[in-house]
């Protein structure tokens, strides 16, 4: 049974965020983790096609655009992860028969892609002013040959996990894992991700406080 190898190598890369960088979308944000950068844009609530409308809630559509080529199955599966997390935290019943569109564009991939998508999505939804019951953030955890690392760039690892953690009770909203690991390691990774999410939520608070410190 592998133990967590000390707390020496558990750190988050530097991150940065810019809000309202695009003029057309209702909300937009860019999120940068180390060299991985993503731009997210939200349109909504807006008119929805009759074929897609839901009578008592808003229809959320997530689109992930890769940098090169057309979107493939990998993007579709990541879209589903992001969509399910957003649907769990957005108050969709406040906007029935409307559409919310979230578009994520990958700018550069240097590891922890899905986590960056989740963070950018949350900041863009906040920027658009959509009502949410809680915020969420994405954290990537990797287990390499003998210890545990967070927001692992492109090094080889035995297992790679991404968790979406909510802000109210630090519970896991979504998990996406690749590789093999024991139950014990899973719980350790979740505990570490919950700790790391506190840093990210603090960063959200700081950015939003800075953003609204002046009337733009």
């Amino acid at each position: 049974m592998m133990e967590v190898c000390g707390s020496t190598n558990v750190s988050l890369r530097e991150f940065g965020c810019e809000q309202t960088l695009l003029s057309r979308p209702d909300g937009s944000a860019s999120f940068v983790q180390g060299d991985t950068s993503v731009i997210a844009a939200v349109y909504g609530p807006a008119e929805v096609k009759v074929s897609k409308e839901i009578y008592d809630r808003a229809t959320l559509e997530v689109l992930i655009q890769p940098k090169v080529g057309l979107p493939s199955v990998r993007e579709r599966s990541q879209e589903q992860c992001v969509r399910e997390t957003c649907e769990a935290s957005l108050l969709l019943t406040l906007h029935p028969r409307s559409s919310l569109t979230l578009v994520l564009q990958l700018i550069h991939d240097d590891g922890s892609r899905l986590a960056c998508f989740l963070n950018a999505a949350c900041m863009a939804l906040m920027d658009a002013g959509l009502p949410m019951s809680c915020l969420f953030c994405g954290v990537t955890c990797a287990i390499n040959a003998d210890s545990e690392i967070i927001t692992d760039p492109t090094a080889e690892s035995r297992a790679l996990m991404t968790f979406a953690i909510d802000s109210k009770e630090q519970r896991v909203m979504m998990s996406y894992t690749k590789g093999s690991f024991s139950v014990h390691e899973l719980q350790q990774c979740i505990a570490v991700s919950q700790k790391a999410s506190e840093n990210i939520f603090q960063f959200y608070r700081d950015s939003v406080r800075r953003r609204y410190s002046k009337n733009l």
Binding site: E3, L12, G16, L22, G34, L63, V68, D110, Q188
Partner: protein, 382 residues
Amino acid sequence: MKDTPLSNCERDFLLKAIEEKKRLDGRQTYDYRKMKITFGTDYGCCFVDLGKTRVMAQVSGELVAPKENRPNEGIMFFNIELSPMASPAFEQGRQSELSVKLNRQLERCLRNSKCIDTESLCVVSGEKVWQIRVDVHMLNHDGNLMDAASIAAITALCHFKRPDVSIQGDEVTVYSPEEREPIPLSIYHMPISVSFSFFQQGTYLLVDPCEREERVMDGLLMIAMNKHREICSIQSSGGIMLLKEQVMRCSKIASVKVSEITELISKALENDKRARKAGGRCGFAESMPQERITALKTDETSVEMTDASERANDIVENAEVPPQTVPSPVVPAPGVGQVGREGDVVEISDSEEEEVVILHPETQDKSSKNAASSSNQKGAET
């Protein structure tokens, strides 16, 4: 999602203002908006901001077999993505008229003008050539997407460096950037497109229309030129009728604008080359503006891990014992599979009618698979 239609008041206001030689943002008739060119982390990634219009271009290359009628030449592939991010009117996957038009114009501007030396992209004649793919993504649509796209595409091509290859007999070795320095593409000239919008049946002309102006214009003239005053392509759309003098005047204005823009591109490429040589970090992350209140950046932070380990151990110890694994299926009679003991059983039978699977909650994970379709006598698979 539909875009909000333009109201009649706005339309009348814009047209009247243009008649009085006034523009919404205070520019003169021949002025371009503020242009900013930045580069991404890897070679071939370029961002162009033309006022509020934002465009990103990425160039990538891979080795493929050449076209049959041109065995000695590399292949250039252009793709303009009208991302739904740029405007609510753009839809994912749909080849709208605008998208076809922009793609065609970019191809004419860059491919037909032969600005890239495609013969230098040949590795083994008839077998392996480089396919250079240019993807242009629209990030924000505030008018004049064509100009921004053409600037982004040509700048990204100038910025791109392809991996070095060596040929030994039949073996082709592609070196990674760490092994050998990548090589830039050989570009003869830089064609840049300049757009002119016409109003009131060609009476008034504006350079670099913004999105509102584009909505009320009658027609668009696009001239692609390089700094040597060679016209690479001209396209007039919208059905306006232009006089010969107007077209000549536009081409003169275009040559002035193109030389300014080429100057800006060369300066941006120089700055980037210097920054990379100095070893600094380059990319989108670095070019994020720091002084604005809408942007924030933190340094590397460490995570407090003091009680994470204990917490995890607690959870594992206090967790419920997982349910006992259900034994493997048994076949009591041909065509009937049985999973579980007598009493919590699910019958999965091979009958011809559509049968409803009786689900017992205890064994739901094993039994919820296909009901009647398996002709395999061994029953359900685990």
